[in-house]
């Protein structure tokens, strides 16, 4: 049981915990947009933590693959979340909002410019 294997286990467990929280969020939150928060970010952050755990477990030998995977995750996760929620708003899915309301709808909705 070396130091790095302990760190690796901790990171993998933390990543799994993050993903679990994301799943809980999808189950618990009220509408499509709030669920998108949970589904996109928690999944990506959990996966990044698991990948860092892999990096520690392999003594840094797989660093290039890990770096590549993290970069791809960091780029695709926000883009997908943005694209899906924007498409939802354009298609007329109303967000369930609190007292602050929906500024995008007040400003005339999403349109091309």
């Amino acid at each position: 049981m070396t130091f790095w294997s302990v760190v690796a286990s901790a990171l993998v467990l933390l990543g799994a915990l993050f993903s679990l929280l994301g799943a809980l969020g999808v189950w618990r939150l009220p509408d499509a947009y709030t669920r998108m928060h949970s589904a996109s970010k928690a999944g990506a952050l959990g996966a990044i933590l698991v990948l860092l755990g892999v990096l520690c477990a392999t003594d840094g030998q797989r660093w290039f693959a890990v770096l590549l995977a993290i970069t791809v995750l960091l780029i695709t996760a926000p883009l997908a979340a943005h694209a899906i929620s924007r498409a939802g708003h354009r298609a007329g899915v109303k967000p369930l909002v609190g007292p602050l309301g929906d500024a995008l709808e007040r400003a005339g909705g999403d349109r091309d410019h």
Partner: protein, 165 residues
């Protein structure tokens, strides 16, 4: 410039012990010091070194932001009685550079609790998971923008045509 840096770093660490992570990082720092010294003579190197410094400040700061925001969202999700009050807020942006706006929106969407919905020149529409007012969101985005500007344009002011490092 960033390619020169990466190339020199990779060559140095490859020549040293076949590019393990530790030697690569060490070589990266060494080449940075070299470029910083060269910056006394060449303005290009000086600007690049400042950019590396701003980047080195930005990345840990942003990682910390993401994790503290994750904790907030996690607390919301685990507490069964907590009702979220989400909102779509309108946020002002100073920059009109569409590439920068794209990066800001991506970083914003990576931070738990905020999600970029739509953009019009000068303003961003952000879906916020749980907020009572628009001010903290505006403040957070302004913070990201300022630090990103320090990274991309280290000399301040409006940039010219050249954009890569």
């Amino acid at each position: 410039m960033v390619f020169v840096h990466l190339l020199l770093t990779s060559l140095l660490s490859l020549g040293y012990d076949g590019a393990t992570l530790a030697s690569w990082l060490l070589a990266f720092v060494l080449v940075y010091v070299l470029l910083k010294l060269l910056g006394l003579l060449l303005p290009v190197c000086r600007v690049y070194a400042m950019r590396v410094e701003a980047g080195a400040r930005f990345v840990p700061w942003f990682t910390w932001k993401v994790f503290s925001a994750s904790l907030d969202v996690a607390l919301i999700v685990i507490n069964p009685r907590r009702q979220v009050s989400s909102a779509v807020v309108q946020v002002k942006l100073d920059t009109r550079d569409r590439r920068l706006v794209t990066v800001i929106a991506c970083l914003l969407t990576l931070t738990p609790g905020t999600l970029a919905l739509s953009y019009r020149p000068g303003e961003l529409f952000v879906h916020v998971l749980d907020t009572a007012s628009a001010d903290p969101v505006q403040q957070a985005i302004h913070d990201i923008e300022l630090r990103l500007m320090a990274w991309v344009y280290p000399m301040g002011g409006k940039p010219g045509g050249k954009h890569d490092g």
